[in-house]
């Protein structure tokens, strides 16, 4: 079963990379393309370790997973730069603020990661529990940063929605699938540390949700549908609007006697 899931994931990653190459989408989404290449490489290494070097499988899996946590920021960055293009007014207005929020989230994730040593966890009497204990740093790292990354994606989508920025099928599919998977992964990792009985669930829930994310990515990339350009008002129109708005505010102040 594990092997089948791993093989399916590698095939789907290959499919995603081929789609990005064939439709020249990699030019449009370079950071996402880099991440897809990384996934293909990393999961091929895991598959190879599973097939030929089973003694190294666990080490390969966890090292790949740990590197992946950092590289997932490529997807977050791709979604952000597509939703708020560099030259747009929204980017100029919010990039600094959102960057500070992202930095804050990453700092909080670091703190949450270091806090894992203080947890009161189940005893390590059996070898299975001892093995589980060796996963803990990885699980803590994964859930802390996975949570921060999911929150960044959700924040980007919510802000986009609030300001009426339309997301095309490509970015919408990538962002929603990635965010949903990172959320499930966060909850799953926390539940494993909470109770060992969740371990069998971990074996299947996380990889299966990862495969579903890859399927959604392929669906999203099947048709080239980028985000439509953000229409911005002309300078004259904008200054007229500002004048009208200022007039409304001053009228309202007069009415309520604040002026």
């Amino acid at each position: 079963m594990d092997l089948a899931i791993c093989l399916t994931a590698v095939l789907l990653e290959l499919g995603a990379v081929v789609l990005l190459l064939r439709r020249s989408l990699w030019r449009e989404y370079p950071f996402f393309f880099l991440y897809a290449i990384w996934l293909l490489f990393a999961n091929s290494a895991i598959l190879l370790a599973d097939l030929r070097f089973s003694y190294a499988y666990a080490a390969v899996y966890w090292y790949v997973d740990t590197s992946d946590i950092v590289l997932r920021l490529l997807v977050v960055w791709e979604v952000f730069r597509q939703v708020f293009p560099k030259k747009s007014a929204l980017n100029r207005s919010f990039s600094k603020g959102l960057a500070m929020v992202a930095a804050g989230l990453l700092a909080a994730a670091c703190v949450a990661f270091w806090a894992y040593q203080t947890y009161v966890l189940p005893s390590l009497a059996s070898p299975a529990q001892a093995r589980l204990a060796s996963w803990r740093p990885h699980l803590a790292l994964d859930r802390s940063f996975g949570f921060a990354e999911a929150l960044m994606i959700l924040g980007t989508l919510v802000v986009a929605r609030y300001y009426g920025v339309t997301c095309g099928r490509n970015i919408r599919g990538i962002a929603l699938a990635f965010g949903a998977w990172a959320s499930i992964s966060t909850a799953n990792d926390a539940m494993i540390d909470l109770a060992n009985s969740f371990v069998p669930l971990f074996y299947y829930l996380r990889p299966l949700s990862f495969v579903i994310m890859l399927v959604v990515w392929i669906w999203a990339l099947w048709v080239y549908e980028p985000n439509p350009p953000i229409k911005e008002s002309e300078g004259l129109e904008l200054s007229r609007w500002t004048e009208d708005w200022n007039r409304t505010i001053s009228t309202a102040r007069k009415l309520y006697g604040h002026d």
Binding site: L154, C167, L176, G179, A180, S183, A187, M191, D193
Partner: protein, 190 residues
């Protein structure tokens, strides 16, 4: 431990939020203003071009006339006239809806892309709008033009939303082809 419970709960909450966003779908596509203008140029919509719906359905004059017993008969005549005008306007709106629907079918017949779900939604909206206009007609016929003024005034919006739908479809073909569409439509309508 609290930290773990916090992550487990928030993980599921976040997952729910993503599912919610996915189910909500993207924002509805709005037609380009040029496409809307083109639809207005290609099809003459008589019902929506009537700008005095507010005045037609305003009962102030009627009330003023009714307040004078000598002018009651005149008030009744005014009410009857307004009733006939309102009925004629509703008929024009119904005709506009049908024309817009025919125009949409014409565009799709000419090869403009659409999906089954989009077509079903349009059909559903058309049936609903026609039914609502029929109810308004009955209400105007039975209780007069001043009974449901607000609802009657908003009847024009039904045609506007149908017009936007047609503009969305027209916007899927390059603006250079609109003149050709206009000629073909005029020929088919003749």
């Amino acid at each position: 431990m609290i930290n773990l419970i916090f992550f487990a709960i928030l993980g599921f909450v976040l997952f729910g939020s993503f599912v919610f966003l996915a189910l909500q779908g993207g924002p509805k596509s709005l037609p380009e203003s040029s496409a809307l203008q083109a639809v207005a140029n290609i099809i003459s919509l008589e019902g929506t071009s009537f700008a005095n719906a507010r005045r037609l359905l305003d009962d102030t004059d009627y009330q003023v006339l009714c307040s004078n017993p000598d002018l009651r008969r005149l008030a009744e005549r005014l009410r009857d006239d307004r009733k006939h005008l309102a009925l004629a306007w509703i008929s024009l709106l119904q005709a506009d809806l049908i024309t817009l629907w025919r125009f949409r079918r014409f565009l799709i017949h000419r090869g403009v892309s659409s999906s089954v779900s989009e077509e079903l939604r349009t059909l559903q909206s058309l049936v609903f709008s026609l039914a609502l206009l029929a109810v308004l007609r009955i209400s105007i016929y039975t209780v007069g033009p001043f009974a449901l003024p607000r609802l009657t005034r908003q009847a024009g919006q039904l045609v506007d939303s149908m017009s936007e739908g047609a503009a969305v479809v027209l916007g899927r073909i390059p603006a250079a082809g609109w003149a050709d569409i206009e000629r073909s439509w005029a020929k088919s309508a003749a």
